[in-house]
Amino acid sequence: MPSFPNVRLASRPLHFIYLCDCSGSMAAQGKMQALNQAIRQSLPGMARVARENPEARVLVRAVRFADRAHWHIATPTPVEELQWQDLQAGGVTAMGEALDLLAEQLASPPMEERALPPVLVLISDGQPTDDFETSLGRLMRQPWAQKAVRLAIALGHDADLEVLQQFIGPDPSSGQAPGTVPAGGVPAGEVPGASGEMPRHAVAGAGRSDRSPRRPLQASNATALAQYIQWASTAVVGAASMPASRVGDGQGGTSGAGNIPLPDLPPTLLDPVDDIGPVVW
C-alpha cells in the first residue's frame, strides 16, 4: 500500500444551516415549541445518515431572526456532537438580516474549496419586516448560495409564500416570474419545497405539467413540520452527501433543473397543501 506523506486527504464538508423565524407570532399555537422539538428529534436520524456517508462531513449551524438576526449555532458543528438549545420567540421578522449573516459565511473563504453543496433550510410563519430583497440579492451573488440546496418551510397560512419562493429560486416549470407562487398543490409523488432536480417519477411523466416541486413546504401542524424537518435532515442530507456530477451548459445552468437530485418526500407528505392531522396553525 503506497503512503502519501504530507498529503491531507479529507472528506468533503456538507454545511447544513437552519434559518429560523423567532418572531413573536411563532410563540402562538405552540409553533416555536414544535420547531424546537422537530429539530431536536431529527438529530439522531441526521447523525445516522452522516455515519452512512463517511465521505461527507455533516456540519450544522443555525441562525435565528426576530428583531435582529443572530447565529444560534455559530460554529459548524458535527451533527453527532450537536445539542440543540431551544429557540425563544419574540420580536419582528428580520429575515433579510439573517440572509446577510448567511451570505458572509457562504463567501469563499470561509467556505472550503471542496465543500459539498450546502443545504439551507428557511423556516418562517410570517413576512419579513426588513429589506429582504436586497439581502437576498447579496446572498445570491455568492457562488455557494447559488450552488446550495435551498429549502423553505412555511408554518401556517400566514407565511409569505412569495418570499419563501424567492429564497428557493424561480420555478422554471411553472412558467411564472421569479418570486411568484403558482396556485394549487403539487402532484402526488413530486418533491415540493426543494430547489432540487425533478424526481425520477416526475421525469417519467407522472403528475400535472403545470405543477412544480420547487415550492415552499407548507406545514399546518407539528406533525407535518416534524416530517419536513426529518426529510430535510436525512433524505436531503443523504442526497447532498453523494452528489453526482452533471452537465453544465457554461451559461450558469444545467441540462436539468436544480443543484442535486433530491429524494421523494415520505408518502404522507405527497401534497404540501394537504392537511396532515388537525389543523392548528
Partner: protein, 445 residues
C-alpha cells in the same frame, strides 16, 4: 506510462459501477514516430446519465482511435499543425466518433425499442494529454485536471474554469456544442532536448476533491507520479477515494526524458544528408579498400571519397578539415532561438556546466566533423543548446553572426563553453595545452 481507474468508495457501497475510464497508450506513426496518449473520462453518474460508464469507456477508445489516425496523417514535427489539431480538428473528430459509438451501443440495447436515443444517457467528460518527442499538448472538456511535474516544480497546468450556477456542474461530451468547448482546454508546449525530464499526471475530479486543499492535491500528484506499477497505483487510488471524496478516481501518468522504455524523450539530432554521407564515408572507404583487393574497385572507391570531400568542401565548416573562417547564414528563427537559450542559461548560470556536460557527444562530433555546425544551427528551434554549442565551434569563422552572438552572451556561458571545448580537444588529442587566460580570446574556444 500508466493509467488506472478505481471505483469510488461511495459507489461501491451503493452497488454502482465505476463510471470513470482511463488509458495510457503508446502510439506509433507509419514513420515510426512515438506519441504517448493519456486519457481520463468521468461518466456523470446521475440517474439520467445511467449509461455513463459506457460513455466514458467509449470516450477513451474513440479518442485513442482518432489520435492514432491523426498521427498517421500528420508529422509530429509540425507543431503548428498539431496545435490546430488539438484545438479544432481532433475535438470535432472525437466528438463525432463518440456520438456514433454511443448511438451504436444504444441500438443494441433492449431499451432502444421503447425509448429514443439521447447522448445525455452516456454523458462523460474527457481529458487528453499527448507527449511527443518535441512537444506536449492537451485537450478535452470537463472537470479533469492536468499537472506537470519536474524536479523543480509541480504545476497545475489545466483545470476547468468555474462554470457558475449549480453545484457539481461540468462540461460534457453529451452537450450539443461540446466540440466548441474543447478549445478552452487545448494547448501545445514545444520542448527542447535541453528540457529537463518531467511527468504529466492527468486525473479525474475525484482525486482533487479528495484533497483538503490544492496544495495537498499537488503533493499527492507528486507521490502518484512516482508509482511505477498498476497494482500499487490502484491501491493508492482506493486509499484516496476511501479517505476523501468517495467518488470514482482515475489517473493517467506519462513521463518525458526519463530513462526507461516507456518514457518518451527528445529526438536524436537529425544531421543533413551531406553529414550522413560524411559519416558513411569511412565505412565506404573501408569497404572499398577490402574490395580493392580484387584490384578493380579501389579506384572507384577513392573516386567516391574524393567526390564526397569535394562536396563537403563546398559547405562551410562541413568537415574536420574545414578551415576556420567558414560562415553560415543565420535565419531569424535560429537567431531568436540562440538568443533565447543564451538568456535562459545566463539567468541560471548554475545550469550551464551540467547542461554542457550532457552534450559531450555533440562537442565530440563537431570536432570530428560527424556533426556540422550549420546543421545544428539550422535546427536551433528544436535544439537551441546544440546550436549554441555549434556557434562556438571552430567550424565557423570568428566573424560569423553566430560567434558574434555568442560573444554578446554572459561571461559564465562563454567561459563554460571555452572550458568544455578545451576538455574535448584535449580528450581527442586535437589541441595543444590550454592557453593562459591572459592570452586566450575572450569568447572563442
Amino acid at each position: 506510462m500508466i493509467a488506472c481507474s478505481v471505483i469510488g468508495a461511495s459507489h461501491r457501497r451503493q452497488g454502482k459501477p465505476c463510471q470513470d475510464a482511463s488509458l495510457a497508450r503508446e502510439l506509433r506513426s507509419p514513420r515510426g514516430e512515438r506519441l504517448l496518449l493519456l486519457a481520463v473520462a468521468d461518466g456523470h453518474g446521475g440517474s439520467r446519465y445511467w449509461l455513463s460508464a459506457e460513455g466514458s469507456r467509449l470516450a477513451c477508445d474513440q479518442a485513442a482511435a482518432a489520435v492514432e489516425a491523426a498521427l498517421a496523417d500528420h508529422d509530429l514535427a509540425d507543431h503548428e499543425r498539431w496545435e490546430q489539431l488539438l484545438a479544432d480538428e481532433l475535438p470535432a473528430t472525437i466528438q463525432r466518433r463518440w456520438l456514433a459509438a454511443v448511438e451504436a451501443d444504444w441500438r443494441q440495447r433492449a431499451e432502444a425499442a421503447s425509448q429514443a436515443f439521447s447522448p445525455l444517457t452516456y454523458g462523460s467528460t474527457l481529458g487528453l494529454a499527448l507527449l511527443g518527442p518535441a512537444w506536449w499538448g492537451h485537450t478535452g472538456l470537463g472537470d479533469w485536471d492536468l499537472v506537470r511535474l519536474d524536479g523543480a516544480s509541480t504545476v497545475l497546468v489545466s483545470e476547468e474554469a468555474e462554470l457558475g450556477g449549480p453545484a457539481e456542474a461540468t462540461a460534457s461530451l453529451c452537450l450539443a456544442d461540446a466540440a466548441r468547448r474543447w478549445r478552452e482546454r487545448a494547448g501545445l508546449v514545444p520542448l527542447a532536448p535541453t528540457t529537463p525530464p518531467f511527468s504529466l499526471l492527468l486525473s479525474s475530479d475525484g482525486v482533487r476533491k479528495s484533497c483538503a486543499t490544492d496544495a495537498d492535491f499537488l503533493s499527492l500528484s507528486a507521490h502518484l507520479a512516482e508509482l511505477a506499477d498498476a497494482t500499487t497505483l490502484a491501491e493508492g487510488l482506493a486509499q484516496i477515494t476511501a479517505a476523501g471524496s468517495g467518488d470514482d478516481v482515475s489517473v493517467a501518468i506519462g513521463h518525458w526524458g526519463h530513462p526507461g522504455d516507456q518514457a518518451i524523450g527528445p529526438p536524436p539530432p537529425q544531421p543533413s544528408t551531406a553529414a550522413r554521407r560524411a559519416r558513411l564515408a569511412p565505412l565506404l572507404i573501408s569497404a572499398a579498400a577490402l574490395l580493392a583487393l580484387g584490384g578493380l574497385v579501389a579506384g572507384l572507391a577513392l573516386g567516391w571519397e574524393s567526390l564526397l570531400r569535394g562536396r563537403q568542401a563546398q559547405r562551410p565548416g562541413a568537415s574536420p578539415s574545414a578551415k576556420p573562417g567558414a560562415t553560415a547564414s543565420l535565419s531569424a528563427t535560429a537567431r531568436a532561438s540562440l538568443e533565447l537559450e543564451s538568456r535562459r542559461l545566463c539567468k541560471q548560470p548554475q545550469l550551464i556546466a551540467p547542461s554542457l556536460a550532457q552534450r559531450e557527444p555533440q562537442f565530440r562530433d563537431l570536432l570530428s566533423g560527424k556533426l556540422l555546425a550549420p546543421v545544428l544551427i539550422a535546427a536551433a528551434a528544436r535544439d537551441p543548446l546544440g546550436a549554441l554549442i555549434a556557434a562556438g565551434s571552430q567550424q565557423l569563422a570568428d566573424g560569423s553572426p553566430e560567434s558574434a552572438l555568442l560573444r554578446g552572451s554572459c561571461v559564465e556561458l562563454r567561459q563554460a563553453l571555452d572550458q568544455q571545448w578545451r576538455l574535448q580537444r584535449q580528450a581527442s588529442g586535437r589541441m595543444p595545452p590550454a592557453p593562459q587566460p591572459a592570452t586566450a580570446p575572450p569568447s572563442r574556444p
